[in-house]
């Protein structure tokens, strides 16, 4: 670490080492991992920024999205440090590889808050998340329960996320933890390259020819691939079995309203994003916030997501204000909305 | 044998210059070509003959100078403009598309029935043209890449006859041709002259020049080095103008052969 002793750039560095109290005009980095899910740009970022603005009107948030590339995330972190940020909130592309970023930042006395995904190898200063593995487990479990209730016969298809995405790996693990002991046969599973819905559609189409009516349900790791799976059934002209999702995208909500998709999962992004802004602000002021629990040797706060189905969609997504009925209940979805009482 | 009096010129150049990087390829060239006249341009290798041709056919713009065509001062910015004016050119490097076959090359840019190509008409016409030049091409449906050097040159010459040009420029048209094909091309040049076209022919072959040209313009190192009337000049004089000396490799060789030196 001796080589990096003099880091920090021209102006920002001198004040950053001083630390104490004044966080005015400070910068904080908010580094998100990918564009495969819309949530980072549409939810996490604006919510975090809004909360930050409220806590510290003169502070700036440096937002970056690494587009699923760990090396790019490293570059983004480095450039944030060159700009003299006082804290980094990072949702790592690769939990293992992010250790470098944590190391580099900590060597410059910049605190790092792991967001959404942990950095197990090198403890960050704080960890705030819901648990991806748990998410996988919850969507799958909800589907399994539903199938059991309906006395469905047959097996399950599993559409995982990108084979080169660490988060997808966690979700996959979670899904298996629910399906493997469920008694339903896992007909086949597929890692969708780049989370592409088209790929998921192609694969599911093939499985429909292969397994015909044995397919009782499909566990898809996010809403995009879930949508691809549904389109495959529609295109094959067969009945759509229950299909899961994850991320609670608007399009998924509409499909749930229309009865095409069985579930998705809504993460309390607002709560998490605001909590992380809180924690980051404390760090920027030079405080050391304490965690609710400790995970991976890191003071942590974990939040629990909610599975959304037709039964609870109104209350979880619409009444809570996460989504607006006016956006979702357009055209063909108006009827479904009316039935579910969404206004 | 042929009219040498200066007819009013179809094409005349004044003060044409062209530089490539550090090399002055053409300096202050003057030239007049009349309808119904064959003008030969001769000169050593690299004298600038092909550069001049390229300027006339719109391939390169000149750096300076004016071109007058049918008494109007014109610009020839592109080869398409030259075509439109009625200037057809056979380039020294032939400029054929090797991936296209003979018919496709012949009619390139002037296809019969643009929206539904008339292959039969084009093939028939191709055979006519090629026969006329006594080309020895076994099939016109092979890509030009598969033709011999002389066969390609014949294709390039045949192509220049297709439109209805007023001036035809031939840059070393017989370089790769066999004796029979050369004779046909010379016949052709004479026919073109009879039809009132202006013909510019570049050649290193003094016999051919003497045979068909009316006037000979000599270029030397990118400059005019005299315009001669073919009837009034001997081969030796032309060669002297080309090489810039009366004592040159050609005359030495001839002298040696006459003296019958051993080999």
């Amino acid at each position: 670490a001796c080589g990096s002793g003099s880091t920090g750039g021209d102006s920002g560095s001198s004040s950053s080492s001083g630390g104490g109290g004044g966080a005015e005009n400070a910068k904080v980095a908010f580094l998100m991992p990918d564009l495969a899910s819309t949530r980072y740009e549409l939810a996490d970022k604006p919510l975090f920024e809004a909360k930050m603005k409220q806590l510290c009107p003169s502070c700036t948030v440096i937002y970056q999205n690494a587009d699923s590339d760990a090396a790019k995330q490293q570059q983004q972190a480095n450039s944030a440090m060159a700009q003299g940020v006082k804290a980094i909130v990072i949702d790592p592309v690769d939990s293992a590889a992010a250790a470098t970023i944590v190391k580099t930042a900590q060597s410059q006395q910049i605190p790092v808050i792991a967001y959404d995904r942990p950095v197990p190898a090198t403890p960050a200063d704080y960890y705030i998340s819901f648990d991806n593995e748990k998410i996988g487990n919850m969507i799958a479990q909800s589907l399994v329960d539903h199938l059991k209730k309906e006395n469905a016969k047959g097996g399950i298809l599993e559409v995982n996320g990108s084979p080169t995405d660490a988060a997808a790996g966690l979700i996959k693990k979670g899904i298996h933890s629910a399906i493997d002991p469920s008694g339903f046969k896992l007909l086949a599973e597929y890692d969708t390259p780049d989370w592409q819905p088209e790929k998921a559609q192609t694969w599911v189409s093939g499985q429909i020819t292969q397994f015909k009516d044995q397919i009782a349900g499909v566990v898809a790791a996010n809403d995009g691939t879930g949508g691809g799976a549904i389109a495959a059934f529609k295109a094959a002209g067969v009945k759509v079995p229950p299909v899961t999702g994850n991320d609670a995208e608007l399009a998924a909500a509409q499909r749930i309203i229309a009865g095409d998709q069985y579930n998705t999962i809504s993460k309390p992004i607002k709560i998490v994003a605001e909590a992380s802004a809180d924690v980051a602000y404390q760090f920027m002021q030079g405080k050391k916030p304490a965690g609710k629990t400790t995970l991976y040797n890191t003071p942590s706060q974990l939040f629990v997501p909610t599975v959304v189905t037709k039964e609870n969609i109104n209350e979880v997504l619409f009444q809570s204000g996460i989504m607006k009925a006016a956006e979702a209940c357009t055209g063909e979805y108006a009827k479904g909305c009316a039935e579910l009482g969404i206004k | 044998m042929s009219p040498t009096e200066q007819a009013d010129s179809v094409l005349s150049l004044r003060g044409i210059s062209k530089t490539f990087g550090a090399v002055a390829a053409l300096t202050d060239i003057e030239l007049d070509v009349a309808a119904g006249q064959v003008m030969a341009i001769v000169g050593d290798n690299g004298a600038g003959k092909s550069t001049l041709v390229k300027i006339l056919s719109g391939v390169h713009p000149p750096d300076s100078g004016t071109i007058t065509f049918e008494s109007r001062e014109i610009q020839i910015p592109t080869p398409a403009a030259a075509h439109k004016l009625g200037i057809a050119t056979v380039f020294q490097d032939l400029a054929l598309c090797e991936n296209l076959n003979v018919i496709q090359n012949l009619f390139l840019g002037q296809e019969v029935r643009p929206l539904r190509l008339n292959d039969v008409a084009m093939e028939t016409r191709s055979w006519e043209l090629l026969r006329q030049l006594s080309a020895k091409i076994p099939s016109v449906r092979v890509p030009v890449a598969a033709l011999s050097g002389g066969q390609r040159q014949t294709v390039a010459i045949a192509r220049s006859l297709l439109g209805d040009p007023k001036v035809i420029i031939l840059d070393e048209p017989t370089a790769a041709l066999g004796v029979a094909q050369t004779a046909e091309v010379l016949n052709l040049v004479e026919r073109l002259r009879e039809n009132g076209l202006g013909v510019i022919m570049i050649s290193h072959n003094m016999a051919d020049v003497q045979a068909v040209a009316d006037t000979v313009a000599v270029l030397r190192l990118g400059r005019n080095n005299g315009v001669f009337d073919v009837g009034a000049v001997s081969t030796e004089e032309i060669i002297a103008a080309i090489t810039g000396a009366t004592d040159n490799a050609v005359s030495q060789r001839q002298a040696r052969r006459k003296e019958g030196l051993p080999s």
Binding site: D191, G227, A236, G331 | P79, F107
Partner: protein, 411 residues
């Protein structure tokens, strides 16, 4: 019949053959010489079909082949545009982004803004054309390599796609809209499919016959009646079999017919119009084309516009097939697959060589591999490896068939 030689058969070095025998001998001769057109690709295709069928007996089932045809259409149409740019020796790396953007524009206009579907489609297609026109301007004016222009486009239009989708992220197209139906559920009725097959065969025969007549009248060698008949009957048999086999399940999709129709139109444009000649000429030797008076810039413009337009059309169909437009539409391997389809179909990356049918065959190769291996349910690591190997296999077969070309002096 062989006694008087036609104009184009008089050279005594030609191994003189006419009639049916001659035609067969010709094909064999050309096979020996490596000048086989699309035959090597077909051979490659047969090899990988056999392999995949052995690995999973469902592969050649009617249902799966129907899927295959439908999945080929969108990227196939994009590949058709790529063939055109490759023919002039240029490249377009942005077809993926443009297709994604086009899907997004369609969805936003149609679903979010409630425009009629035809207007939304038109807008997306026009946008594609405009993008191609901009590329062409940059290329013609500044001489920037098309690789870099379109790479800039790849990034910029990906950004625009995200921007257009904006806060929605992913937009569903209604399942009951005509567009989605077209891409998913509309199939040509069996009787009409057979009609198409018959019409194609008759058309092949008639046009061949008239052409032969014309050639004979002009004193040129021509295919004789039996060759023409055999050709047409063979075509009829193949098409009828395809229609029959696909008809076992759902039949021939309209979207696939649309793709085949575009292939036929492009084939005509490239082989039978002045524009097509100009495209090949520019690709073969741009300076020669320019000297022949061809407006080279116009050719480049037409080709870039065509390519982006096809990309936009492909994007619309992809969105229709998925019944959604989202941020990852057009990302991933759309670019690579479209270019690879063109190259596998025999289009040269250096320009001047390739056909529209090549795009059709190429995309079928690519989609067969992808569909065949998707069916195998392998680990993704293994799947990637096997995909690479099978792709290589298909192309090695093709290349071996072509190989003798160079040794026979045709590079």
């Amino acid at each position: 019949m062989n006694s008087t030689l036609t104009t184009d058969r008089q050279d005594e070095r030609l191994s003189g053959r006419e009639g049916l025998r001659g035609a067969i001998a010709d094909v064999l001769e050309r096979a020996r010489g490596g000048d086989l057109g699309v035959i090597p690709v077909v051979v490659g295709l047969i090899v990988i079909w056999t392999v995949l069928q052995i690995l999973n007996p469902i592969f050649l089932s009617s249902a799966n082949l129907v899927n295959l045809t439908l999945e080929s259409a969108a990227v196939g149409i994009i590949a058709l545009g790529i063939v055109c740019v490759l023919l002039v020796g240029q490249i377009d790396l942005s077809v993926g982004s443009v297709s994604g953007l086009s899907g997004a524009v369609l969805a936003v206009l149609f679903v979010s803004n409630g425009l009629p579907v035809w207007l939304a489609i038109l807008a997306a297609v026009i946008m594609g054309a405009v993008i191609g026109w901009v590329y062409a301007q940059l290329f013609n004016r500044f001489g920037v390599p098309s690789f870099v222009i379109t790479m800039a486009g790849l990034l910029a239009f990906l950004g625009l796609q995200l921007y257009v989708l904006g806060s929605k992220g992913s937009i569903n197209l209604p399942f009951d809209s005509g567009l989605v139906n077209f891409a998913q559920l509309d199939f040509v009725p069996p009787w009409l499919s057979y009609c198409f097959a018959v019409i194609a065969a008759i058309w092949l025969f008639a046009s061949g016959y008239l052409h032969a007549q014309e050639r004979r009248r002009a004193g040129l060698s021509a295919r004789n009646l039996s060759t023409l008949l055999i050709r047409s009957v063979a075509l009829l048999a193949v098409l009828a079999f395809v229609v029959y086999y696909l008809g076992q399940t759902r039949g021939v999709g309209w979207m696939f017919m649309f793709f085949v129709g575009l292939v036929l139109i492009m084939h005509y444009m490239l082989s039978r119009t002045k524009w097509g000649r100009a495209v090949y000429a520019v690709g073969g030797n741009v300076e020669a084309a320019r000297r022949a008076g061809i407006n080279v810039k116009a050719v480049y413009t037409s080709v870039f516009v065509l390519c982006s337009t096809f990309a936009a059309v492909g994007g619309i169909l992809a969105a229709a097939r998925l019944a959604a437009a989202n941020q990852s539409s057009g990302a991933g391997d759309v670019n690579l697959n479209a270019i690879a389809a063109a190259v596998i179909g025999g289009t040269s990356l250096f320009g001047g060589r390739g056909t529209a049918f090549g795009a059709l065959l190429g995309i079928i190769v690519i989609q067969s591999i992808s569909s065949g291996l998707t069916l195998l349910n392998l680990d993704s690591s293994i799947r990637f490896m096997v995909t690479g190997i099978v792709l290589l296999l298909a192309v090695v077969v093709d290349s071996i068939a072509r190989k003798s070309r160079t040794s026979h002096g045709r590079a």
